[in-house]
């Protein structure tokens, strides 16, 4: 099946080439960071985690969202999802590849990364991530590939594949929960010290993943003859609305607890995010955008005219995704270090080197997802009785 990834039209190859260029640029930036040391990033003694760890966190969420497609299909027999599960699973594979590469980009001694499995330390939450992330990646790659093979042969998927699918459901929840525990288990960082972090991680993941899937299916629709069923898209929108409303509730609970109890350790970072402290307000516009984006997304998605397919729905999904990316992929990690444990403020803007490496990682992940999707789409187009050559992609 993999050979299908090497057949495509002009747009396909232009996109692949662009991604390859971005990967090479990212790799060069990485080699520079490796040679010079981590001072080339924007991180500091005070803000010691930044953009890389943020992306890792956000992408684990994207991967975990596969649950929102698999669960309705296999527990509630919602058949319309049968044709998009594999898209969601391959998205998870790419997202986890990127997550792992972001951790790799963040450590100061990448050549020693095997010290983690060589000295297994179950009391460290990172230990669980090193098990659950590669595990989930492999699980989804195997499941997706096996299902696609069965589909091509016109057979129902084998029993062992189904067993793996059931295994992947709790796996997704645990994987994202241990990611939240990395943060929620650190004393002295009031912004992270919240029991609602893991639940919020899951709700934002379950909104961000479907939003990305809707955007992707719109792109596929524009470029190929493969169509994602309308019923499936509408179900994804419903899931998004629920997830966003629950997230809004969780956010409100968070704000109430912090501001009403008014314990400085818990309010300081929120104060920095909402209004800045002194002249330090780098994250203020971002944080307001995040809050607005969630409110606007809910309003838009609840409007029937927007929900109907088309550019408006995609716009709503882009706003959702942007808002949730700011939340987990930009603010959550560095904000907990501001103010620092001494009550001093050191702000954090990511450096160009950091952003270039991140671009490279995103390009590599997109390359993998594109290739896997190419295979899926070819098979779907063949099924629809269309010659591969006739597609523009």
């Amino acid at each position: 099946m993999i050979e299908k990834a090497f057949h495509g039209g002009k747009i396909y190859w232009a996109w692949i080439s662009a991604l390859c260029v971005a990967v090479v640029i990212g790799l060069l930036a990485y080699l520079y960071q490796l040679r010079e040391g981590m001072w080339v990033t924007g991180m500091s003694r005070d803000v010691s985690w930044g953009f890389y760890i943020s992306q890792f966190t956000f992408l684990v969420g994207v991967a975990a969202s596969v649950l929102m497609v698999v669960l309705p299909l296999y527990l509630h027999d919602f058949r319309a999802f049968a044709r998009i599960t594999v898209l969601s699973q391959f998205l998870a594979v790419g997202a986890l590849l990127m997550s792992l590469l972001f951790i790799f980009s963040d450590v100061g001694m990448p050549m020693r990364i095997l010290n983690v499995p060589l000295n297994p330390t179950p009391r460290s939450m990172l230990f669980y991530d090193t098990i659950f992330l590669p595990g989930f990646m492999l699980l989804n790659l195997i499941i997706g590939w096996a299902m696609l093979g069965a589909e091509k042969r016109g057979e129902p998927p084998r029993q062992w594949v189904k067993a793996l699918i059931y295994l992947s459901m709790p796996w997704a929840i645990i994987m994202h929960t241990v990611t939240a525990f990395i943060y929620a288990g650190t004393p002295g960082r009031g912004f992270w010290m919240t029991a609602i972090m893991a639940p919020r991680f899951l709700t934002t993941a379950f909104a961000a993943g479907p939003a990305l899937l809707i955007i992707i299916s719109a792109i596929i629709r524009a470029l190929t003859r493969f169509r994602v069923e309308e019923r499936a898209v509408q179900k994804l929108v419903t899931i998004m609305i629920y997830a966003l409303i629950i997230d809004l509730l969780f956010l409100g609970v968070e704000y109430f607890t912090a501001f009403y109890a008014n314990i400085p350790q818990y309010t300081e970072t929120f104060q920095y995010l909402f209004s800045g402290i002194g002249d330090n307000r780098a994250l203020v516009p971002w944080y307001w955008c995040m809050n607005m984006a969630i409110a606007v997304s809910i309003a838009m998605l609840c409007t029937p005219r927007v929900r109907a397919r088309g550019p408006l729905l995609v716009t709503a999904c882009v706003i959702t995704l942007a808002g949730l990316w700011i939340d987990k992929g930009y603010v959550l990690v560095p904000a907990a270090f501001i103010p620092n444990v001494f009550g001093r403020i050191m702000e954090y803007p990511p450096s160009w080197v950091e952003l270039t490496i991140s671009l490279g990682v995103y390009a590599l992940g997109s390359l993998m997802i594109t290739a896997l999707y190419r295979v899926v789409i070819s098979i779907r187009e063949e099924e629809a009785g269309l010659a591969v050559k006739s597609t523009s992609l």
């Binding site: 010079e36 040391g37 981590m38 001072w39 991180m43 500091s44 003694r45 005070d46 010691s48 985690w49 951790i103 963040d106 450590v107 100061g108 001694m109 990448p110 020693r112 990364i113 010290n115 983690v116 060589l118 000295n119 330390t121 009391r123 460290s124 939450m125 990172l126 230990f127 090193t130 990395i182 943060y183 288990g185 650190t186 004393p187 002295g188 960082r189 400085p264 350790q265 907990a336 270090f337 620092n340 444990v341 001494f342 009550g343 001093r344 050191m346």
Partner: protein
């Protein structure tokens, strides 16, 4: 305080046994410096090493001259080849000073005693009884020794900086660059101690309570430096021994610790 003759011989004996620290042990226990030395327990046999910082003595010394006093900091950073990057973003700190308000941010008091307001306090790793940094380290590169010292295995650290996120005291520093490339004009005689290693870029480091000196029967470099100028503000001793110098100080003075509410049980005590 003071050390009896028997104890002196015991410590000196331990030190000479290995043919290395003999001279050093005598240095520590030379007349006039007996006060800060260990009581009833040789330095190599502690169970819960701790430090009591008498800020009254420290501040008095700092205020006695215009330049203040940085003896302990200089001694420590020279002993352990800690470079000066001249940049707070990438600073490496084992022992340092900060204002009272930043050392104890959990004790805000608008109308605080002028005796401590904005006064420079000494900070270092607390060698907590329940260290969060040890809890989160994915490779056990940072670990708690049997004698209570929270130590770093530089050979194993992968530089993930989870410990820096977990430490509520800002006691950990990351090598953002290669210390050998630290600005020459700020580090003219680096490496300052050819008997102690440097670090590579990409690992985390922190105060190690001078494990390398304690192993030889010597007091930590900061304590030695403070004793040398006869200030004796720093007292190093075993909290596990009810008769130790530190336990005696704690019995007789009111002391505070940084962020005790977090349950980390710091082993650094401040006499205000």
């Amino acid at each position: 305080m003071g050390v009896d003759r028997r104890e002196f011989l015991k410590i000196a004996g331990y030190a000479t046994l290995f043919g290395l620290g003999g001279k050093a042990a005598i240095d520590i226990l030379a007349p006039g410096e007996l006060e800060a030395s260990m009581e009833a327990i040789p330095l190599t046999k502690g169970k819960r090493w701790s430090m009591v910082i008498d800020m009254r003595k420290c501040l008095k010394q700092q205020e006695s001259s215009k330049e203040g006093c940085r003896e302990c900091i200089t001694a420590c950073h020279r002993e352990h080849n800690v470079p000066d990057w001249g940049n707070p973003k990438h600073a490496i700190k084992w022992i340092w000073q900060d204002k009272y308000e930043h050392v104890f941010p959990e004790h805000p008091n608008e109308f605080i005693d002028e005796g401590v307001r904005h006064k420079p306090f000494i900070l270092m790793c607390n060698h907590c009884l329940n260290p969060p940094c040890v809890r989160v380290c994915p490779t056990k590169a940072t670990f708690k020794r049997e004698d209570g010292i929270v130590s770093m295995d530089m050979h194993r650290c992968i530089g993930c900086r989870f410990c820096m996120a977990a430490c509520p005291y800002g006691s950990r520093s990351f090598n953002w660059g290669n210390p050998r490339k630290a600005p020459k004009e700020l580090n003219p005689d680096y490496p300052t101690n050819r008997a102690y290693p440097e670090r590579s870029k990409g690992v985390v480091e922190k105060c190690n309570f001078c494990v390398e000196l304690v192993a030889k029967g010597q007091l930590p470099a900061c304590v030695q430096a403070c004793d040398k100028i006869k200030v004796h503000a720093l007292t190093f001793g075993d909290l596990d021994n009810p008769e130790s110098n530190v336990r005696k100080l704690l019995r007789e003075h009111f002391t505070i610790r940084r962020k005790p509410a977090l349950g980390t049980e710091p082993n650094l005590f401040y006499i205000i």
